[in-house]
Subunit: 648 residues, 2 copies
């Protein structure tokens, strides 16, 4: 056991009690960020309750420290995002085939809720293009927005309610882990794909078409646009292209000089105002320029009594609520996180989910549809220098004023202006460079990204996202089922053992093979590991430079856990190796693995003296044993070898 | 870069070409056992073709070497398994609600096919109880076996055909990996659960009931048995209990003395013969002893023209084919493998699948239903000393003789005898001890096992197996999403760094924290890893014994792969740590990880001098740097620290 001369020993301590391990596992799974550490440091009960409230309601924490200087920044940021929220709200509501006023409502109540419960300082609340389209696609299958607009609207509120319940529940249950399974590559591809189809759909507005397909894939949309060539209105197209060029130019300015971010942030509002004036003065509707139409004054009416849980529509509504909720949450959390990293802060994904959930539940009661933290708005908020969630509050107040006094003015907004705004926003979401970078660095990640991109563009949005998530999971399972193994050799002039493929100058001791296993060993990969070890042994025996193998040392530092099947596999490997006259040793099992080995009595099966603390120690001991083995076992072993070669 | 004084360097070789890596990954995924190695060693084209045929048709390999001495053993084994095949065939066909003769047919053609294509020497082909019940459960939903027996029979043939196609296809596509996802715990629980419900179902036969529920769960079966109390036939029950005691006694004998295996192997046949004589002489049907009924002479009629692909039934048929096929395959391969290990041989899972597939395809053409390698028969075959697959051939020949001449005799077999045979076989499949062992060693594996056991017993067979597989996958995904990390310390008098929880005497250098990461780093766990690293840092800073952290070394030997999200996470971690005045170093990235780091330019971002070959080297370098840092950065760092504490 160990090499006593140097005082180093493998630790064979009794396993930690089950309760202790369970608690530790639960903590790692659900509370990896240790959210309750602030309570532990507090003494009095009142202090703890106060801390608890501050934890769940972040406004209680930051508002007492709030000052006028911070407010200056938040006011400016709030005004800037309001100017973006009005055109985006109207546009995305059109994308969801909802009355435009719903889009404005959605920028009033949800930001108020988020300002109270949200933990991010930079996130700006609003509706998002991809989810708006996704909602219309799923709900549109059970209720036509054109023929039954009231039913459709109520079902959208219900879907929003379900989204809210799901998000809040996931947050309370600390299941933020689910969002982790939407990889960056999936989101990149999904964003790109939706940007393509949403852009193409805007051709409807640009060409001033009135009838259009409700499908979203590239083929259907292009087919619809070109089969309706006779209805194209050139006036609309000219106006649309002018707006688009203007918007893209402001975007170009911002890219060249980031300080001009406000130019591109204000541009959509300018487009809307110019569009309104233009349509009003030339009497646009008579010249092929369609407008948004009547918008009534007043803030959000209650909609809680409209929630519709009719079993006829419920499956579609639940589907829409869950899928859009998950996508919106992933976008919101990813964006909040990336801005927090820029400022070296951290946000709590589970707390964010609760905030999103509450915001959507309250939203569904007050005539709003799905909101989250959209990328464009959040980036503008960040660049405008927001300091706290107060900027959302400012936006909500300005939005209320707009709803109360200015709403009717926006009824002149030309649809073509909205299309140009959406298209311009979408073109920025197709990140060619990032995709190319993926292709260069990781081909499989690129495939995952393309599955989402092409799936969304050519099949449908939910199929695309599921394909991509499925592919990512498949990859993860494959990694797990086929863990990397490698043969180690000794780096000259050191006691280090490293992969001989990576370090070709590493040398192998004669007759002793050291194999490093990675990843957990369990049922899904134990057969593979057995086959792979036998193959290493066979290959080494077939190699004229090395020949017979007398010892196999398995280096287990990288094995983070093991299950019953894994332990049994190790027993079987040992048995098969022994039948061929090869001794098996284990090097440096980690604590969890060692506990299982002790509990299952594997340590005694293999013999404690065959478990080593380091490869160097193991090789040393094996080398001492080799001559003895040579004398006693040469002939039977070599005949066994031949048998194994034939059988295998 | 490395410590030049000792000549050890981190390897920054250019990444291997993509094609090379892809080929290597494909090989590990689909050909881990390197099946084509025998061809590489052959010179001539003819030799290679010959080897190829021998590879795909194992009989070509072993038959030329076959001799009379081997045949003696195989003949004995063949006769023994035939005596088991007849009662089991009839019993399990009753379980699948098929005409008993189908069970006998299924022990004639499939063993012939397996003898040619199978690679296991010990596997005995036959029908299995669990799958028989599963077939009747699924197909019974679309076609009642009592009311439309012909349709039902044809659908069972079709399901068998689909099973065969699937098994062969999986084998050809080298997807043996799928079977790996049925863990030992799942199979243990599933076997136990089916044993319970099948045993309970035999109460029907024991009590001589004629009408019975078609459901399989414990509650329905017990309810049916007790609600029909008035129909209980005491004569049948007495006979049944006598047979059961006899069978259990032979089993007890065998357990006490393994050499008496033939007593328990012959016992079912003896039961059937005694049962037949008894029923014939006392004219059993008039005394409440129901018999099997008419069995016609003759070998398997063709059934290829009965295959029914009517779209009305196809979904159920495909479902039955796939689920039973997968379960049967898992059982067959697991059993073949475990006997091969006992004899220190190896079997090729993919080749076995092809053999099973061909056997079921041919079987479905010749009036057979699903066959695989059942545990009981294979164990008897092994104990009887079989040498090659010839024993299956012997069984097929004896079965053909039985079908041609003796079949009508078995029409007197009392149903109660069959029930006793099934019940006795099933009682041996509930492995209390193994389950208890699981509970002791691995609680989660025990839950997986219980999910299958209780799910099968109280819900339904397919729900039970899916629950268990789902739980096992969930565990695997959790492992992946929450990889173990630990803090390393130096073992006194060595250059080894080990987990400080496992080795409490390991000491940590002041200001330098070494963290070991395990498992691949990718999208599903990168957020967790970031949170976890920050928590380690916070905890260390909060610990009065250690205080400030100035260096964090990430030991990556256990990280077998990394994706784009993982690389980005490392960049972000470094950025956050640096903002707090902490330097990050990387220790010993493996070849795949290093290639990604180079491709994504991470090595230059972090600086090649911060990548070390060993922890000892890294700690040494950091220690040299500490004093310098101390002088220049003390005050800003400590203020940053406080900020981090508050923000986090």
């Amino acid at each position: 056991m160990g090499s006593p001369k140097t005082g180093q020993h493998v630790s064979f301590n009794a396993p930690r009690p089950f309760g202790h391990r369970l608690k530790s596992d639960m903590k790692e799974t659900f509370f990896p960020d240790d959210p309750f550490r602030q309570f532990r440091n507090e003494r009095g009960a009142i202090q703890r309750v106060k801390k608890g409230f501050q934890y769940f309601i972040p406004i209680l924490e930051w508002f007492p420290k709030y000052n006028l200087n911070m407010f200056k920044y938040d006011l400016l940021a709030g005004i800037t995002i309001t100017s973006l929220a009005i055109p985006q709200g109207i546009s995305y509501a059109k994308l969801a085939v909802l009355p435009p006023i719903i889009g404005l409502y959605s920028s009033f109540v949800p930001p108020l809720v988020y300002a109270v419960f949200g933990s991010s300082k930079h996130l700006a609340v609003g509706t998002v293009a991809a989810c708006s389209l996704l909602i219309s696609e799923i709900i549109g299958e059970v209720a036509s927005p054109e023929e039954e607009p009231t039913l459709y609207l109520h079902l959208v509120f219900t879907a929003t309610f379900i989204t809210g319940i799901m998000q809040a529940a996931l947050g309370f249950l600390r299941l933020g882990i689910l969002v982790d399974f939407l990889s960056h590559s999936t989101i990149l591809g999904f964003m790109g794909g939706t940007a393509v189809i949403i852009s193409l759909q805007q051709l409807k507005g640009i060409f001033g078409l009135t009838h259009f397909t409700s499908k979203t894939d590239v083929y259907s949309v292009l087919h619809a646009v070109f089969s309706l060539r006779k209805e194209w209105k050139w006036q609309s197209a000219v106006v649309g292209i002018v707006f688009l060029v203007f918007l893209q130019f402001t975007r170009y300015l911002r890219n060249r000089n980031p300080k001009l971010f406000w130019v591109s942030a204000m541009a959509p509002m300018v487009t809307v105002i110019i569009g309104c004036l233009f349509a009003y003065f030339i009497n646009g509707t008579q010249h092929g320029i369609l407008t948004v139409g009547h918008l009534s004054k007043g803030i959000n009416p209650l909609s809680v009594h409209f929630l519709n849980f009719d079993s006829k529509y419920l499956p579609a509504v639940v589907q829409a609520g869950l899928i859009t909720g998950l996508v919106a949450m992933a976008e919101g959390i990813a964006i909040g996180r990336s801005f927090a990293i820029m400022k070296n802060e951290q946000i709590d994904g589970n707390k964010e989910m609760i905030a999103f959930g509450l915001m959507n539940i309250v939203g569904s009661f007050t005539s709003c549809y799905l909101t989250t933290g959209p990328f464009s708005k959040t980036a503008v908020n960040f660049n405008a220098g927001c300091r706290t969630a107060m900027s959302n509050l400012v936006m909500a107040i300005f939005m209320a004023l707009t709803l109360l006094f200015l709403a009717p003015l926006f009824s002149y907004t030309p649809l073509v202006a909205l299309s140009a705004i959406i298209m311009s926003a979408m073109l920025g979401l197709i990140k060619y460079e990032e995709m190319y970078h993926l292709l260069k660095v990781d081909k499989f990640d690129f495939c995952i990204c393309m599955a989402a991109f092409l799936g969304v563009a050519f099949l449908s949005m939910d199929v695309g996202i599921m394909l991509s998530v499925g592919l990512a999971l498949l990859r993860a399972l494959l990694y797990m089922a086929r863990p990397a193994t490698c043969k180690l050799g000794k780096i000259p002039n050191s006691s280090l053992y490293r992969d001989v493929e990576q370090y070709p100058n590493a040398t192998r001791a004669h007759g002793i093979m050291v194999l490093q296993l990675g990843s957990p060993i369990y049922y899904a990969n134990s057969n593979y590991i057995r086959e792979r070890i036998f193959r290493w042994v066979r290959d080494e025996q077939a190699d004229p430079n090395y020949g017979s193998v007398e010892h196999v040392l398995l280096e287990l530092s990288g094995v983070t856990s093991i299950d019953m099947t894994g332990i049994e596999t190790l027993v079987e490997i040992r048995k098969s190796l022994q039948a061929n006259g090869i001794q098996m040793g284990i090097v440096n099992p980690r604590i969890v693995v060692m506990e299982k080995m002790i509990a299952s009595d594997f340590t005694n099966t293999i013999g404690k003296e065959n478990i080593y603390l380091s490869v160097d120690e193991g090789v040393g001991r094996c080398r001492d044993l080799v001559p003895k083995l040579k004398q006693t076992e040469t002939s039977p072993r070599s005949s066994n070898m031949t048998t194994m070669e034939q059988q295998v």
